[in-house]
Symmetry: C2
Subunit: 345 residues, 2 copies
DNA sequence: ATTAGCACTCAATGATAAAGAGTGCTAACA
DNA sequence: TGTTAGCACTCTTTATCATTGAGTGCTAAT
């Protein structure tokens, strides 16, 4: 199964030429541009072997060869030379991130923008997973006598608001008191824990005063409900239009299929929900989503304080500049994790 | 200038046929499908007149006629029969809106989804304009001894958070006190007014206590800054991919140009920032943005308590189903305004 | 093992012809 | 005088067919 050295070089040549030109690569081209001391005929023989082994394929008899998914896989795993980003690009990322202030969602959206701008493919990112962070502060605010606003701040700097409707007015003092108790009892719990908390037990902690219990019973279930609701997936994507520049999407129907996938947030979430620590490359038919069988996806996770809380990814054709995209994704997750951790302190 | 009745009918026939088929319309078609008691020859004569008057044009000699922008304009203003939505569609809108709970941005995004789903064109919407609403409640929350969270609730139910960094710890009691004073002084002011408030004057109101003044001086400028910042345009769009189904975008380059416009939030904001009360139809070259010279835009404003706070719009080819889109936009703004007003109460 | 040579395949290109849709104009008609 | 049938004309669309050229696989020579 181990490929001879020359076969490796030829495969690499074919893949890199194809990545650059999107045209099937012939033996002549390989001989002229890559392995100048080997004749086309020899290369043809090797190519026939490579095809038999499934690394490359031929669109039709009189065309050059095109890498198969298996070919790309080998390339990504073993052949490709990984070169780091240059200083300029590195700087670019930092600078673009610096421009954003304020809410965390903006930061994430900016990451998505940077990612698609640098790669010229489509980017997708998940917002920090709320439930993986833990409660730092809870504030109940009486907006008027029908509405209470609950503000939740978590350690990763995520802020969530939710309005709680109430039937009867609640006295200021009581609400404040409940707020204090809740903060005291709940601080530090992860949101996931919080969502499953035992209301009855908490009630006991509030003490015997009937008004307190009443208010708690009114407010808490609604709050938990709101939490569960706001847990829903938040996925952003950017740069889809970039793909229209690529010859593989000169067919409008293909482009449309692709865009439709990008609009299905649940699908995207699935794609990104891989919680491995490393950069993951999914090539062509390795994708579970059949609409993406001609696409490759490169994902990585970002974290806060060493805890993985979200992912970013790049979606493009299988003919993707793997090396470059991997470098970019790598750099970006690191910057993102860094900035997140810094923001909070 | 007034068009004879028959010319009107012919123009209407041409436009409606063209809207449905995207094919140039010939005299034979008009005679057969629309004006069955008039011969093609007669219609040819009329069409020659209409062309001379600039209402229709000919892609080339041996093709039928196509409406010009001027033709569409007349059609929209005078010829088109406006038919209301049927009960089902009406129901659909209400139902889809009901599905959304919680934050106002979600409601707006949902409006955008509904709009593009029903029209099969691209939709764009602006989030409620923060500065046109007025302060209902301000809450300053000490998250930790370096960060204060300011939560602003306005009468239209918009909630904004912003983190304020501080160098020195602030005592709980003082912050609470300041919070009370600010609420008392600022409640009811519009955000626009708030952004231009006189800090010195407020300082006087706080009274002579030096700590209060210090805190106010630290917190308020940052708060106003955050307000100004969060005032930035928020525009959502949806359904861009719908346009790929239309023959006018079978040319990928055109599609790309269109998508690029949709990614320029500032441009979109300009488009929507028309603050007239009615539904506005902008046809083809009437558009200031030259990339949209082949597009039509239908916009309308939504309001809260009778105050206009945002707009929604539909962007499609000039060959647009004007009547239908207008009905949908109309219905949607009404529903939206209604729901907004209800939510707040 | 490598390579030159050659016949073969097949998509892409381009030229040409035929078909078809629609027009404008003229002359006849009510 | 407005309407219509008839017809020549224009121009796009479509199909057909030959040509070109890139690339291959195989064979025989090195």
């Amino acid at each position: 199964m181990a490929l001879g050295r020359r076969k490796q070089l030829i495969l690499q040549a074919i893949i890199e030429d194809y990545i650059n030109t999107a045209e099937p690569v012939g033996s002549r081209t390989v001989s002229k541009k890559y392995l100048t001391n080997v004749s086309p005929a020899t290369i043809r023989n090797e190519m026939a072997d490579l095809e038999e082994m499934g690394y490359i394929e031929q669109p039709h008899t009189s065309a050059g060869r095109v890498p198969s998914d298996k070919g790309y896989r080998l390339y990504v795993d073993e052949l490709m030379d990984k070169k780091a980003l240059n200083e300029q690009e590195y700087e670019y990322i930092r600078r673009e991130f610096m421009e954003v202030v304020g809410e965390i969602d903006l930061l994430i959206k900016q990451a998505s923008r940077i990612l698609s701008a640098m790669t010229k493919y489509a980017s997708i990112v998940t917002a920090p997973q709320f439930k993986r962070t833990s409660l730092k502060h809870l504030q109940l605010i009486k907006v008027d006598n029908r509405n209470i606003l609950a503000v939740i701040v978590t350690d990763a700097g995520i802020i969530k608001n939710s309005i709680i409707r109430i039937d009867n007015d609640i006295e200021d003092g009581i609400l404040e008191r409940i707020n204090k108790i809740l903060n005291h009892k709940l601080m530090g719990l992860s949101i996931a824990e919080l969502m499953n908390i035992d209301i009855a037990k908490l009630e006991a902690d509030v003490g015997p005063i009937i008004e307190y219990r009443q208010v708690l019973n009114k407010v808490l279930p609604e709050l938990l409900q709101a939490l569960r609701y706001s847990e829903r997936v938040e996925v952003f994507s950017d740069g889809a239009a970039n793909l229209l520049d690529l010859p593989e999407y000169s067919d409008v129907q293909k482009a449309k299929d692709f865009f439709n996938v990008l609009n299905e947030n649940e699908l995207l979430y699935e794609l990104l929900n891989d919680v491995s620590n490393n950069i993951t490359v999914t090539i062509g038919k390795e994708n579970k989503i059949h609409q993406l069988k001609d696409c490759s996806l490169i994902t990585a996770t970002y974290s806060y304080n060493g805890k993985i809380i979200g992912s970013i990814g790049v979606l493009g054709p299988t003919r993707m500049k793997y090396s470059r995209v991997i470098s970019i994704v790598d750099c970006l997750t690191q910057s993102l994790s860094e900035i997140l951790t810094k923001i909070v302190k």
